[in-house]
Amino acid sequence: MTLSSPQPASAPPAQTSASQDDLTVNNVEVVYHDIIQVLRGVSLTVRAGQVTSLLGTNGAGKTTTLRAISGLLKPENGKIREGTISFAGRTLSALNGTEVVKSGVVQVPEGRRVFKHLSVEENLRAGAILGRGNWHADLERIYTYFPKLPALRHKQAGYTSGGEQQMIAIGRALMAHPRVLLLDEPSLGLAPLLVAEIFDNVRRINREEGLSVLVVEQNANIALRNSDYGYVMENGRIVMEGLSAQLASNPDVKEFYLGVTEGGARKSFRDVKSYKRRKRWM
């Protein structure tokens, strides 16, 4: 049966116990084109079996962090100058993209990037290039997570809607049997209902397959609600971290990421002031 997950998931209790299967990013610095420094010593941990979120302003370096982990910096002319990234006893920072995927870490790129000219099913099959397991069975597994997809299997992915494309992109990544899934802004440009649906699905996969997830989000609200632990990044540095619930109640996070006043009421966009309070960590 396809639904059986390899490892019955009971969420790990706390942040304390370090596990072999944690993904750790240790003091990483990244430069593009040898001169543009984007990450200035980033450290974070994705605990095994948990959902970890990474928040931050535009251009903070979130995508860059994911690229550093998944070995996709090189095509962008970027490289890790300092620090290490390790997972399951391997040093990911020394590997290329293919090897990282082999070691069980797969990224769903920002903006979805489905293969536009391939059918939905071919998109998923393209995810099975490393030939783990039986792709027929895997397809069925993905279809149970995303019941909308089977009906579209022969449709060209370029003509599916944004939400469907996000599902295809996640499904495609799952075909490679990852142990850690990196999601880059899955909610980008999606309608609220779809955002909720995507996150529900991610949560479910996380639970059923014991898959660790690192999700980069602008929608802090939904990300914090659906993760166990969170990091906030600005200007290439981690400026804050904590259990998601703790983060959500931090006044700065509230003000700058959740858009609620200290009182707890939602600010109106109509009343934005030109004068802005300075962030405390700056």
Partner: protein
């Protein structure tokens, strides 16, 4: 028909078909001059397609779109722009290799009125007009707070800044109607606030009509004068924001909750 100061945008029974698939079905709506009108709806509902129809990138299979006395239904994009309608794209469509200034100068194309021969000799008319329009561009740069990026190639700018350049460029066209397709996608609350401030200023200070596509219900509810909701290519609701957000069909199709509660935690 009376002639208001700024013309009104009128979409009448527009249907758009892509090989059997109806991206839009019989959509009719009105955008009165000076208002901020938002269009919301699930992904693939046809919002961008509607904007494409207005701005001339697609032509409706059936129906009519007018802007004042201009019929937009069959007009090419550059013609629509000439009527005073500007657009910022959902997926950045900037001239990536050019600097911010050059991007904005391009938006002055229709305001520069000299011929190829003037260009060849570049004396008098061409030279003078170039300088005048350059000054105009600098004012927009000031307004949109893009000074420090002025001469950088836009391709190297951060995503959020590029979005702002996109809006600035549309504004440089001196439009009467501004079409904004998800100008705040991928921004955090703080950055959204900045963008909202620009949009409000554009509307208030320059009297520009704005059509806005946005998924952030907070923004939509706060700043729109009027909201239309699309679902599967059909218009399912339209009216004042608070009325629309309470509409059960909208809740079912789109928002999922009666009012966007920004409460934290599960």
């Amino acid at each position: 028909m009376s002639q208001p100061s700024a013309p009104q945008l009128e979409v009448q029974g527009v249907t758009l078909t892509f090989g059997g698939l109806n991206a839009l079905t019989d959509v009719s709506l009105t955008v009165p001059p000076g208002e901020i009108v938002s269009i919301i709806g699930p992904n693939g509902a046809g919002k961008t397609s509607l904007l494409n129809c207005i701005s001339g990138f697609y032509h409706p299979t059936r129906g009519r779109i007018t802007f004042g006395q201009h019929d937009l239904s069959r007009a090419a994009p550059n013609v629509v722009t000439g009527y005073g309608i500007a657009r910022a794209f959902q997926n950045l469509e900037l001239f990536r290799g050019l600097s911010v200034v050059e991007n904005l100068l391009l938006a002055r194309h229709t305001h520069l009125r000299y011929g190829l021969l003037d260009s060849l000799v570049f004396y008098g008319r061409a030279s003078r007009q170039e300088a005048e329009n350059r000054a105009y561009v600098e004012r927009i740069i000031d307004f949109m707070e893009l000074e420090q990026h002025r001469s950088h190639p836009v391709g190297t700018l951060a995503y959020g800044i590029q979005k702002r350049v996109e809006v600035a460029r549309a504004l440089t066209l001196s439009p009467e109607l501004l079409l904004l397709d998800e100008p705040m996608a991928g921004m955090n609350v703080e950055e959204k606030e900045d963008m909202v401030r620009f949009i409000l200023d554009i509307q208030r200070e320059q009297g520009v009509t704005v059509v806005l596509i946005e998924h952030d219900m907070g923004v939509v509810m706060d700043i729109s004068d009027r909201v239309y909701v699309l679902d599967f290519g059909q218009l399912i609701a339209g009216g004042r924001p608070e009325v629309v957000s309470a509409d059960p069909r909208v809740i079912e199709a789109y928002t999922g909750v009666a009012e966007q509660k920004h409460a934290v935690g599960a």
